[in-house]
């Protein structure tokens, strides 16, 4: 079980740490949040650079499971990871976009291992990329976005690359320009355990 925490630690240390250090107001979207495994490791990183991170960070957890949503609410209440007015749990990205009052300068989309299942619908990467695009566009204050993913399976070439492909199409039309993904192995004690990857989107220059 703790392996999921360690995987998220590797991913967030690799790709979230730099954003936190830059002093951004971050909207952290934990897609498929479950019991907040990605959120827990994010809450480790934010205080490193900002004593006031609870005022400058918004956590949004998304899960289709009602029980998981209740669990995530309880975990945040118990451990006070994020301020209650900078914390929401929802079933969809759209619900988050419609319900929160926050002006992020950066948005992080933590996919954890959501795309790693072989049993996912083939259309999911495309629909998820479209939903994400719409979500980001609803926060015009954001100048940088990152999509963070890790995959314990080894079937990286399946859903993640399809997601990247579809997201890349939006860079032709929107205010953000998505870079090619970065990809790194996750290792502990010399053992390779999974792979982590990130897509970065930065604001296009005004024309």
């Amino acid at each position: 079980m703790s392996m999921h925490i360690k995987q998220n630690r590797v991913s967030n240390n690799a790709y979230l740490d730099e954003m936190a250090r830059a002093g951004n107001d971050i909207l952290f979207v934990d897609f498929g949040c479950g019991p907040m495994t990605a959120g827990l490791t994010a809450a480790e990183i934010f205080p490193r650079y900002d004593n006031n991170y609870k005022q400058r960070t918004f956590y949004a957890g998304i899960d289709i499971s009602r029980n998981m949503r209740i669990l995530a609410e309880g975990i945040n209440l118990e451990f006070q990871l994020f301020n209650s007015d900078k914390f929401c749990i929802a079933e969809t990205l759209k619900q988050v976009a419609e319900s929160i009052d926050f002006r992020p300068t950066a948005i992080v989309f933590s996919l954890s291992c959501v795309l790693s299942s072989d049993t996912l619908s083939k259309t999911l990467p495309k629909s998820l990329a479209a939903e994400w695009h719409e979500f980001v566009e609803s926060f015009p204050s954001s100048e940088e976005v990152r999509v963070i993913y890790h995959n314990p399976d080894g079937n990286f070439h399946q859903n993640w690359e399809a997601f990247c492909h579809h997201l890349g199409k939006f860079s032709q039309t929107v205010r953000l320009s998505y870079s090619l993904e970065q990809r790194n192995p996750c290792e502990w004690d010399g053992h390779r355990a999974s792979t982590t990857a990130m897509i970065e989107g930065t604001k296009k220059a005004e024309s």
Partner: protein, 44 residues
């Protein structure tokens, strides 16, 4: 300001009865048994 130790928080969460579904999900999750054993050998 209190620092967060994700592993310590997780240790407390994972023994709570309410986490049954989460534990079940992760135990049934996508990690092949062989890889999981290799990971355990890695010390986590």
């Amino acid at each position: 300001m209190a620092k967060v130790d994700a592993l310590e928080v997780w240790r407390k969460i994972s023994v709570a009865k309410i986490c049954k579904e989460a534990i079940h999900f992760f135990n049934q999750s996508q990690i092949p048994k062989k890889r999981y054993i290799e990971a355990r050998r890695g010390g986590f």
